[in-house]
Amino acid sequence: MTTRTSPQAAPLRLFSFAAPSRFYALSGLLVPWLWAGAVVMTVLGLYMGFFVAPTDATQGEVYRIIFIHVPAAWMSMLLYLVMAFWAVIGWAFNARLASMVARAIAPTGAMFTFLALWTGALWGRPTWGTYWEWDARMTSELILLFLYLGYIALVNAIDDVRRADNAGALLALVGTVNVPIIYFSVKWWNTLHQGASVSLTAAPKMASTMLTAMLIMTVACWLYAFAVVFMRTRGIILERERDTDWVRALASGGAR
């Protein structure tokens, strides 16, 4: 290996940024832009959702919580798959950066799941009359939260980093396989026990402004997730790679 003064001196290859040092540098450049994008999109999406989108015919103004609830729910499900994907990549190919990214995603995914549950409860109160209704989607979301917490608990309980990464990958994979089974069984359970007189169905037709605002909020959540996950990954990289030259140079030189 020839020594280079800067990690970017080598020509770019497909897996160039699988190296923690290069990823650290790249993400450091991207994070401010991701935050900026997230803030702009959030302001835009919430403005559209709260002020521009029309009042709903049946629910009035209360429905506007969907502009936070639905993107959060989508992100919670997407992030679980992404987390499992990177964790398995890290396990299969012994790619430690992939495992670090998976660990970084977990808290954000759990946060979105909790946000979806919380906003769902706040939405349920005025519409269903109760904060919690054991309907299929809410219950499955609750179990998804448990799956996230289980992953976080497992990887944090194991001291050996490689074993923790691989065990977490296996757990995330088993969880991914189980999510459809759990969702189906909860749906079955819920339809058979349908005691509630009012069941919430998604608005069949949405005004285009509502849909646009929701999509903008989804993009905003996505950018936020990228920003936060990158920041967390950078922290994990510094922790795990603290014995390498480049981290030592960073720490002592104070370079950005």
């Binding site: 448990f146 799956l147 289980g150 608990a153 497992l154 074993r163 296996l170 759990i182 189906f184 359970w189």
Partner: protein
Amino acid sequence: MLVAVVARDLRLAARRRIDALLPLAFFTIGVSLFPFGIGPETQTLRQVAPGVIWVNALLAAMLSVSQLFAGDHADGSLDQMLASGHSPVALAVAKALAHWLLTGAPLVLATPVFALLFDVDGASTLMLVITLLMGTPVMSLLGALGAALTLGLRSAGVLLIIIILPLCVPVIIFGVGAVQAAEAGLGADGHLSLLGALLIATAVGAPVATAAALRIATE
């Protein structure tokens, strides 16, 4: 090899009979605790009986399964078994089977007594026994996976419950659902079929995952 491992586990358990009966004792106490919390009204108890028995069976299974590989891991025999060249998947199946024979099977046999405590009628008790007979092996199989993942950790017991319980939700849903469907006079065939499907899928998939988890935990 499968038979040898099961026989060994049963022999080891026979040397510590009290320890082997602890899950059953937990099940007994757990089930008996519910009336104190819910009230002795027979109608209510009859309604909640399937759920109470199922959840306690699940907790009893989870509490006892965390030590599934611990003894062998501590004295090194687990490493020997994994290095022996025999299939680690067979080892996982054997361990789960031994756990079921020691914990699940006694639970299933004891269920009619507890159904009596909750004034559940004969036909429903039979359905309860059948569903537990199909569900407790699933719990043992998933529990073995959890035990392999949490091998040697300090907080293995609670951690195992946290990571495996969400995966057991479908089993509870269909197990209790079958009993409730039978009680209501509707056919329980759908529930039983799905329970059977879960059993088959878990029996095929969980030992493979357990073997992978054992490799992760011991390398």
